[in-house]
């Protein structure tokens, strides 16, 4: 028997997006003992790999240990410990062992670089909270950001670590919104005096240009796909028709989002 040939050449075209998540994110440490306590003993991330490397290369490259912890999903966080290598001098009022900042550097900037590790449920998040709170590195902050909930602490190296869960799946229209935001951002930052005001003005232009024709990608579950539920004319970008959305023709599956479309428009 001979297997039927593919109907089209589609199966031979490699996918555009071929990556598979984080292989490893690597950080230097001057406290390998504390690092192992934090990741292996407190968080219980298994040690899954390590390299004992003698120095190499033209520089005075010290001997080092490169060690890895499993952070789930086959992803890993890794550390370098260099024997005899002292931490380079620099400000250490804020930041971590890799990047120190003077005291007057705003905390939002310092905190902007961090690693967030995903969990699937509140139960899992609280389990990590419990493990941290029983350790020398208790949770410093637990925040419900409406769509996500996160706990934060700093590891023994000063690296900010977040553990986070999503309160709902990301919807397809949020992918569109992200595309429009980034295209608007590129336009604005390549012009003069970038600002949020300019970005929102440019983004409004892109919404009018591109949102009416938008449909979620095939195979992507639509949580609140408004256009599908609306009369064809209702999505015309050039219409300002208060009654374009009849009551009851609100977004399919949008949950609470159904209410405003119906009520707000029906009122008019």
């Amino acid at each position: 028997m001979t297997a039927p040939a593919p109907a089209t050449g589609a199966q031979t075209v490699p996918p555009v997006h071929r990556v598979k998540g984080v292989d490893h994110a690597a950080f230097p440490t001057f406290d390998p003992a504390g690092t192992v306590r934090f990741y292996r003993d407190v968080l219980r991330f298994p040690v899954v790999h390590s390299i004992c490397a003698a120095g190499w290369g033209p520089e005075k490259h010290p001997d080092f240990i490169h060690f890895f912890f499993d952070i789930g999903n086959d992803d890993r966080i890794a550390f370098f410990y260099y024997f005899g290598f002292e931490r380079p001098a620099g400000p250490d009022a804020k930041g971590d062992v890799y990047a120190g900042f003077d005291a007057d550097v705003p905390q939002f900037w310092v905190n902007s670089r961090h690693l967030a590790i995903h969990v699937d449920s509140e139960e899992d998040l609280l389990e990590y909270r419990r493990r941290l709170d029983e350790s020398a590195w208790p949770v410093e902050m637990q925040v419900m950001h409406e769509t996500i909930e996160s706990i934060y602490t700093h590891d023994p190296n000063g690296y900010m670590i977040e553990i986070t869960r999503a309160l709902r799946p990301v919807t397809p229209q949020e992918d569109l919104d992200a595309e429009l935001t980034i295209d608007a951002l590129i336009d604005v930052v390549t012009g003069e005096d970038p600002s949020m005001d300019k970005l929102l003005a440019r983004k409004a232009e892109l919404i009018v240009e591109r949102a009416p024709a938008w449909r979620p990608a095939a195979g992507v579950p639509a949580k609140a796909v408004l256009a599908e539920a609306l009369p064809a004319g209702a999505v015309a970008a050039d219409r300002v028709a208060p009654q374009a959305v009849p009551a009851g023709a609100a977004p399919a599956g949008a949950g609470a989002a159904q209410a405003p479309a119906a009520e707000g428009v029906a009122r008019a």
Binding site: L176, A204, L226, A259, A268
Partner: protein, 81 residues
């Protein structure tokens, strides 16, 4: 004309709803966005929406010939530019 866009996701739902309490405000869909327009200034009371910080301060998706003149814990105010 004051015009702002708000993405239709569940936690933004009350934003156009509260805006539309003003009889001069119109709401329509442009793809997956609410387009909120008024010949006057659009004022949306934050507490009436029930939105907390992360949602409230990221609810505005676009401004067409308009500008934000207030966006704080009390209200969002959008006026024609």
């Amino acid at each position: 004309m004051s015009t702002l866009f708000v993405l239709d996701v569940p936690e933004n739902a009350t934003v156009p709803q509260v805006a539309a309490r003003d009889p001069r405000v119109s709401v329509e869909m442009v793809g997956p966005y609410f387009r909120i327009t008024s010949p006057d200034t659009i004022v949306i009371d934050r507490r009436a929406t029930g939105c907390r910080h992360a949602v409230w301060y990221s609810a505005v998706a676009g401004l067409a010939q308009s500008r934000v003149t207030q966006h704080d814990k009390d209200a969002l105010r959008v006026e024609a530019r």
